[in-house]
């Protein structure tokens, strides 16, 4: 999350509703100040009790909008002509809104499916980024009147064997093959595909709209369902892709605000209303080629269309029933996390050992190559390596399953770190051990295998265990290549149910529980071993 403006809310405590304030005083009197504060933060009272955002905007002359620029065209994206500038139809609309408020527009970058949580946290004032109006969201957030009528567009490769959405989803016995469709995770398209995809369609969630398109180009999936503006924009830039059939589905994009920002909502509604009436909104949309006949409905929209049937929003903490209900999903995510870590770490350790041996005992070219590998892999981010494996390798003709790409990526990344741990441990074994082995007639290889490595392993174990537990948590990066592991599952559930605190606590507990057995195994191994590294250290 990057943000230009930082704001203080000294008035937030004054604005507490009475019951929590009473509880606070009672607890504080008993000396539970810190725990009380922690509970308050968790409970997000700070957000509920925040001073009106509109006042703050007037005061700071800034309004901050949460948005995701990654693959964000034509909504909001970096101007290819001038990468210091953001453009897009939403950016132009945001500029107009900010101008009406007499404030400077500030865009805060965040990952698309977490933007509403960012709104909760108070780091942005509004969220406008192709978010549709849904009843679930409407129960927890304020929304403006709609500013765009979206439809969904199926995209596929030019050589695809289907002509339309209904053709793609048909239960056609002539095409029994599983059909995979990529969608932006948490988007309307995902929900639409779930509700209308039929029994033969597998839905794969991506973190970015263009990631899904890329996967179609690579042949990893058959099609992607995208919001029309996105589809129309990128189809011109990806020659292998085609728009398939007429758009499907229909709904409204709205701007979301925190529940108590009623005054700000009224100002935004007013601006949007005016821009619809005077045609300036249409001018913006035509500039970005996103105007179409469906937008006529904007003018005829009435608030009754956004009526909610339920009234009770789940904003209270302690809703553990919903966690219990979704436990199987969380466990599934945890299983993926365990699989990723348990499969990749032994590989990383083995590759690392080979690298360390090559670097220490190998001939000159092997020493050099090992060093280059370690420096390159250690010096580039895991995320980038996963992208290369998953999105770029297919272009070279090697298409990897997400799970294979993830395990390979983690193993490659961690092998460079393990190599250095192994190297330090191997070098810590006294040369005399090696000489004694040679003097007994062992070959160098046998001496390294029988004498040096087992002793080095004991020295390396605590550091490798450390990395293993770190890797457990790093598996969350793999959601970028469509895997739903624990963190991603938590995110999806927290987003769809609103029980952020409960799911976060449960996920954290899972990570802790998954790491503990390995800490225990590692300590037991060290304790049972004799020789170097098993000694009682000073102070024990």
């Amino acid at each position: 999350m990057e943000e230009d403006a930082s704001r203080d809310h000294p008035a937030s405590i004054v604005a507490f509703p009475t019951p929590p304030a009473t509880i606070l005083r009672r607890l504080a009197r008993r000396g539970y100040v810190l725990p009380t504060l922690a509970i308050l933060c968790l409970a997000r009272f700070a957000v509920i009790g925040r001073a009106d955002t509109l006042e703050t905007i007037h005061h700071t002359k800034k309004i901050t909008c949460g948005s995701d620029m990654e693959g964000g065209a034509p909504y909001i994206y970096l101007d290819p002509e001038n990468p210091n500038r953001t453009i897009g139809f939403e950016k132009d609309l945001f500029n107009a809104i900010a101008a009406d408020l007499g404030a400077a527009p500030v865009v805060a970058q965040g990952q698309w499916d977490t933007l509403l949580q960012v709104l909760d946290s108070g780091r942005v004032d509004i969220v406008m980024n192709g978010y549709e109006w849904t009843e679930e969201h409407a129960l927890r957030y304020l929304s403006t009147r709609p500013y765009y009528v979206y439809r969904l567009q199926l995209m596929a490769r030019a050589d695809a064997g289907f002509r339309s959405w209904s053709d793609f989803t048909a239960n056609d016995s002539a095409r029994p093959r599983r059909r995979r469709i990529g969608v932006l995770r948490g988007s309307v398209a995902e929900r639409f595909a779930r509700e209308n995809g039929g029994s033969h369609t597998t839905i794969i969630g991506f973190d970015g709209a263009t990631d899904a398109m890329e996967a179609v180009v690579n042949g990893q999936i058959e099609a992607t369902l995208q919001d029309v503006p996105s589809a129309r924009f990128y189809v011109k830039r990806m020659p292998k892709l085609r728009l398939v059939g007429d758009p499907v589905g229909r709904g409204y994009y709205v701007i979301y605000l925190r529940k108590n920002d009623i005054d700000l909502k009224k100002r935004l509604d007013h601006t949007i209303e005016r821009m619809i009436q005077d045609g300036s909104l249409r001018t913006i949309y035509e500039r970005y080629d996103v105007w179409n006949d469906a937008q006529v409905d904007l003018a005829s929209w009435t608030p009754e269309l956004f009526a909610t049937t339920r009234t009770e929003a789940n904003t209270s903490v302690g809703n553990w029933a919903i966690v219990a209900k979704n436990l199987p999903l969380l466990l599934q995510g945890a299983a993926t996390t365990v699989l990723l870590a348990v499969a990749s770490m032994p590989l990383a350790t083995a590759i690392g050992l080979i690298l360390a041996i090559a670097r220490l005992y190998g001939p000159r070219p092997a020493r050099f190559l090992s060093r280059v590998y370690i420096e390159i892999v250690r010096g580039t981010p895991l995320m980038l390596q996963l992208y290369v494996l998953f999105f770029l390798f297919p272009r070279l003709g090697l298409t990897l399953d997400p799970i294979v790409a993830a395990i390979a990526g983690l193993a490659i990344n961690y092998s460079a770190y393990e190599a250095e741990i192994h190297r330090a441990a191997l070098q810590a074994i006294p040369i005399g051990q090696f000489e004694a082995a040679l003097a007994l007639g062992m070959s160098r290889g046998t001496a390294i295998r029988l004498i040096i490595i087992p002793q080095a392993a004991r020295i390396a174990t605590p550091a490798i265990t450390n990395d293993f537990i770190a890797l457990f948590k790093d598996t969350s990066v793999c959601s970028a290549i469509t895997l739903v592991e624990l963190t991603k599952q938590y995110n999806i559930l927290a987003l769809s149910t609103g029980a952020v605190v409960e799911f976060a606590a449960t996920a954290a507990l899972f990570y802790l529980l998954m790491g503990l057995p390995f800490s225990w195994l590692s300590r037991r191994f060290e304790r049972n071993a004799i020789g170097a590294g098993s000694g009682r250290g000073i102070g024990i």
């Binding site: 051990q433 000489e435 040679l438 007639g441 002793q455 020789g531 170097a532």
Partner: protein, 246 residues
Amino acid sequence: MIQTNDLWKRYGKTEILRGVSLEVSRGEVAAIIGPSGGGKSTFLRCLNGLESFDGGSVTIDGETIDARVPQARRREANRRICQKIGMVFQAFHLFAHWNVLRNVAEPPIRVLGLSRPEAEERARRLLDRVGMGDRLTAAPSELSGGQQQRVAIARALAMRPQAILFDEPTSALDPRMTGEVLSVMADLARDGQTMIVVTHAIGFARRVAHTVHVFDKGRVVESGPPDRVLENPAQQATRDLLAEQG
């Protein structure tokens, strides 16, 4: 059995060995004495390939290694030599991750291809012989220096070597432990084990060795039976050494 011919060894510009020619026959106990830095240990390590040398040749049991053969090609010959002659180090170098029994039993299994029961039987017998039969499961770090060195001798013997090289085997030990180790070595000598012993223990050389070689500044300055070299030295270097060591 063991023969060197004009052995030279340099570290950069420093000459460690300056033409050492020496012969040890089967069943002979040869003691090498001399001041520190005289090249004694380096000489021993050249015999089994732990150090390479720059000139001359080493012949062990018919296998010759010549300085003119490139280093990489000497490796295999060195390994064959190491399987024929054992070595006992000043700092013992027992394998720290193995217990006493395994230190002695494992090398014959891995190098000579002995079966485990056979190797363990042999190891027990040898450990009994060096007085360590009651500490089979101890870790090396739990033993005293003298005990470790006796295990190291058993480890060398388990390979049934034709000769054993001792590199200052008692220099790291206090007098009582030195006694333990030297008595084991004297026992081996009585059984006719070929041994080359680099040592500061003049008394041991006098009692046990058949031949004494005096090293000084990278050369053998005097060789002969102990009663002549030690009682009636011909060289000033030998006299200085004996005076120094009392």
